[in-house]
Assembly symmetry: C2
């Protein structure tokens, strides 16, 4: 092979490696989405079988994180990427940390469900939790989609949804405290619902973190801890 062919070959290989990482992150993201859904539904439906499945599957999430992390570091050492490629690798390393922690929250909900087996079970009180679940699932899905398409157009909408999640969470907390006060026999169950709501609220936060990393990757700007106005300005800027 002559020199230009070798270069072409290396560059194609590099692109393939980067694509491979992106695909793995999306696979991990898909599993994590499934874990959140399965865990919360197991909690609401008192479904021990699925709760156990979530706990078992958590190790796959962990392994995926380590695997992708390792691959990113290898590419950094071997290829010494710059500009977008370097940003993508760094953003990916952070995104998978957030995905892994979302997985942890799902596992936490599942473990709580398993601990509750046989306890009093109130089928009719999960409307708010389900609503919260749908909000955060939407956010996580949007965040992964933005990563998949290198597209920051939707991220403002996602971070706005987080404010809705926070309001919903506060309202759930207030209701549950009232229930506890009205009947102390509700306390244990109400606390479990409080923990589940809190876990979902955190999943919303982690999804926002993923969005911030996608903005960093695409726009090259660190938007963490910015006001909404500053965030919008960055997202709408031409790079």
């Amino acid at each position: 092979m002559d020199n230009s062919k070798i270069k072409q070959h290396i560059s194609r290989q590099f692109n393939e490696e980067m694509e491979d990482i992106r695909n793995k992150v999306l696979t991990m993201g898909g599993l994590v989405e499934q874990q959140v859904d399965l865990a919360t539904k197991a909690f609401m439906g008192n479904d021990m079988e699925n709760a156990e499945k979530v706990v078992q599957q958590d190790q796959y999430v962990n392994e995926m994180e380590k695997d992708i992390d390792h691959e990113c570091t290898e590419i950094m050492a071997k290829r010494q990427p710059a500009a977008f490629d370097l940003r993508m690798l760094i953003a990916t390393i952070k995104i998978i940390t957030d995905l892994e922690r979302i997985g942890d929250e799902a596992a936490r909900i599942a473990k709580m469900t398993m601990r509750l087996e046989g306890a009093d079970y109130y089928q009719d009180k999960y409307y708010e939790i389900e609503h919260l679940l749908n909000l955060v699932k939407d956010m996580l899905n949007g965040a992964l989609d933005a990563y998949a398409r290198n597209d920051v157009e939707e991220v403002i909408a996602i971070t706005e949804q987080d404010a809705k999640v926070d309001r919903e969470y506060t309202s759930i907390t207030r209701q549950l405290i009232t229930q506890m006060m009205e009947n102390p026999r509700n306390i244990t169950r109400a606390l479990d619902m409080l923990w589940a709501a809190r876990a979902l609220e955190r999943i919303g936060d982690h999804s926002c973190n993923v969005c911030e990393q996608v903005i960093y990757m695409v726009k090259g700007k660190d938007v963490r801890h910015l006001s909404r106005e500053e965030l919008e300005r960055t997202v709408n800027s031409v790079r």
Copy 2:
């Protein structure tokens, strides 16, 4: 300058940059330690002034994270480091994420304290929270120390302390639930103590994450999600 002098100059500059990063991480860590201490003591002492101070200082923690993060990425792009240096930069990026989240937990405790101004205040019930605070402060301090000295000798002891933190947290939770059941008027305050205890428990987890990154940096092994035996084997291995 002849060639070898230029090389020497570049290498000295590089070492200075790496030292600068390490110093900044330790400064950030020192501030975060202070935030945890101040916030929890403000919570226990109903001290609005210090609670407010913690909330205000949280922005410095955030700025430090962004600043160090930027510096690490710049060095990666400019110097294309390998081996220990690359691992140190990657570990640092992750460590400051954990430090920032510890700062968030401290700010959460402080905000809760401010929201409680004028509420019923039980001076005599904070013994367990204080004990938990001392345990996690110890862990955080040990983790930062390990990072400062590139030394993994103490990390096993730190991760063992986390088991103690978890036990203490479970015991506090159980006591608080009993208190709530005995007297529903205690519910709001007991919940606040529950959130404070949870925040401290999380700070313990983040300190363990820092330890894992120090092991990665020093030993080149990813020890996340390993059993205690595997962890010990890695720490005691000669690299």
